[in-house]
Amino acid sequence: MEPVPNIAPFIGYVYPNETVIPWTVLIVVYPYLTGLVAGAFTVSSLYHVFGMQRFKPVAHLALLTSLCCMLIVPVPLLLHLGHPERAFNAMITPHTTSAFAIFGYAAACYVLLLLLENWFVFRPHIVQQAQRTKGVLRLFYRALSLGSDDLTENAMRYDRKWIFALAVIGIPAAHGLHGYVGFVFGSLKSREWWSSDLMPAIFLFSAIISGTALLIVIYVISCRLRKVPVDSPCLKGMGYTLWGFMLFTLLLEGVEFASLVYRGREGTDMILEFVKGPLIVPFVILQFGIGSLIPLLVLTFMIWRGTGGKTLIAGVFASACLVLVAVLMMRWNVVIGGQEIAKTGKGLLTYTPTFLGREGLLAAAGVMAAPFVLLSVMVRLFPPWPQATKAG
């Protein structure tokens, strides 16, 4: 047998079987990607459902980003499974009491919804390309048009109705999907670090900020690459959104931690020792200090001073990058942190990820990069920039 990966050294007393960490860095990536899906979708809904015109420049980009992330979401799970070839067992004989069993259905429905909404949004482009292009591309776009090449005002009105309806359904669907990811952890009573009613809400709000932050980053970079000016009201709007939802996220995270410490149930001493020791860098410094407090201060300052122009772009962009790091660290601190606190309440483990291998850092980095590689192809096939498409 090959050597067992993920053996964790420990201090204190941990159950013997706990010395192998069950969920690795891939399970950190999984909720992170799911969060990006929900967050990006939120921004697209601000335009499609709530009619906020300032988000028009990113509305379609948000939808494409959401789809690209969602298509990759199952990959870290499949890589993690001992028997990925049996993954469909959870769908053909779902165990209804399991939070995981519902994932297959929820994810499949949501992928379908995203595909449909994207199709309606990009249909005018698809139809135009089916007529303009030649060769393989023509075949590709013709197949994608599904034989529907009507671009009259009547047809477009019909499309807009569908886009609106799908966006409306998409809000609870996207948020439900991510709230459920929080439930996967929060519903487990075996770990004090996870067991919290606030977990779904925390996951949800951190998802919204991560998705918004991702869009800010992608939008600013794409403007640079396309050599077009950044739409200031749009960026400002996303900055506001990020700022507002960050307040909620931090409040929820603060309340959760405070009540855990205040309740002081068995094992809390160990948790505090953990937070003051190994978690200082990932939790206190990266997640809360650099990742949350600094962007919050920067954004507050810019909103207060009414900053505009290049300073606004730089400030919002930098804040968004930091928020992306903070949310990734939050996922790490929940998933890995939870497993580093022993179920005995009397010991701490140390997880060191491997670099190579199916569940190593390289694989995780690959999974993290995949949606963006996919997105870079997708934006060429379906340009999400406002002037390129008329629908929506």
């Binding site: 013997p16 028997h83 004989t93 165990h95 209804t96």
Partner: protein
């Protein structure tokens, strides 16, 4: 057995009706006897109907386990017997059963706890396949010390069964929580959900593994391997339906308790001689 089969057949039919169509039929044909596990963790049925065991009726038994911690001498024959009997991975990180040592030193408020898998103890045994407790406290003033054997609690409301996405792990009618290794997808959600650390991932088979109370033995009228080899009778096993069984008498004649009752899992390993610090 018949009643259970009827139940699972009914569940299967219900599910197929729901799903309908050829996909379900194909899936059923591929997976053998596919059933949907019913709602309610305690009522979870196997995803694949288990094979009948000749001459054994699981509706006529209700197995339970007793541990008399006051008797345990920490010889660890149980751990080694279990590894051999159940072909458990031979290292210090995979155990279907293990023994904890609690040592209270003079002047210290909390006990020092270790198990045979502690690096110090592994070093003393010289191998990850053989186990012994190193005499690490020989120069200290020990006020109190005892051993606590641990194993899967085969809970009445098992959190591990509740979270299994496929129904690969389930509770049998005779009260044993088992895993179908041909159906488990290896997600390890159950490993996370078990508050007792009783489950582990079998890297050889790529599925989750744990104690079965030696189901292959008890259904043939034998004792679990750990019970059979225990030289001091610290491990007691039997049928709750039989009032004269060792475990029925053990529970009747002692004030017993279970581990972590606050989880609501309703464990079925009954302990005598635990201290407040045992977790």
């Amino acid at each position: 057995m018949t009643e259970t089969e009827d139940k699972s057949v009914e569940a299967r039919r219900g599910f197929l009706r729901l799903l309908g169509g050829a996909i379900a039929c194909a899936a059923t044909a591929e997976a053998g006897h596919v059933t949907v596990a019913e709602a309610g963790a305690s009522a979870a049925l196997p995803a694949v109907a288990p094979p009948a065991i000749p001459g054994y009726d699981w509706t006529k038994h209700r197995w339970a386990f007793g541990v008399d911690a006051t008797r345990c001498i920490g010889c660890l024959r149980c751990v080694e017997a279990c590894k051999t009997e159940n072909d458990v991975i031979g290292d210090a990180h995979h155990f279907r059963t293990w023994v904890e040592r609690y040592v209270y030193l003079e002047g210290e408020e909390t006990p020092r706890v270790d198990s045979h898998s502690d690096p110090v103890n592994i070093k003393a045994s010289g191998s990850e396949r053989e186990y012994r407790f190193a005499n690490r406290y020989k120069d200290a003033n020990v006020e109190k010390a005892f051993f606590v054997p641990k194993l899967c609690n085969h809970c009445t409301h098992p959190a591990c069964v509740q979270v299994c996405p496929t129904g690969a792990t389930y509770r049998t009618d005779d009260g044993v929580v088992v895993i179908d290794h041909k159906y488990c997808i290896g997600c390890q959600y159950c490993v996370q959900a078990c508050p007792y650390g009783a489950r582990f991932f079998n890297e050889e088979k790529k599925v989750t593994d744990k104690c079965t109370w030696c189901y292959h033995r008890i259904t043939k009228g034998l004792q679990p391997a750990c019970v059979e080899v225990c030289p001091v009778g610290a491990r007691i096993f039997g049928d709750l339906r039989d009032k004269q069984s060792p475990v029925s008498q053990f529970i009747r004649n002692n004030r017993t308790r279970v581990l972590k009752p606050e989880t609501g899992n309703a464990p079925n390993v009954y302990y005598v001689g635990l201290d407040k610090d045992v977790m």
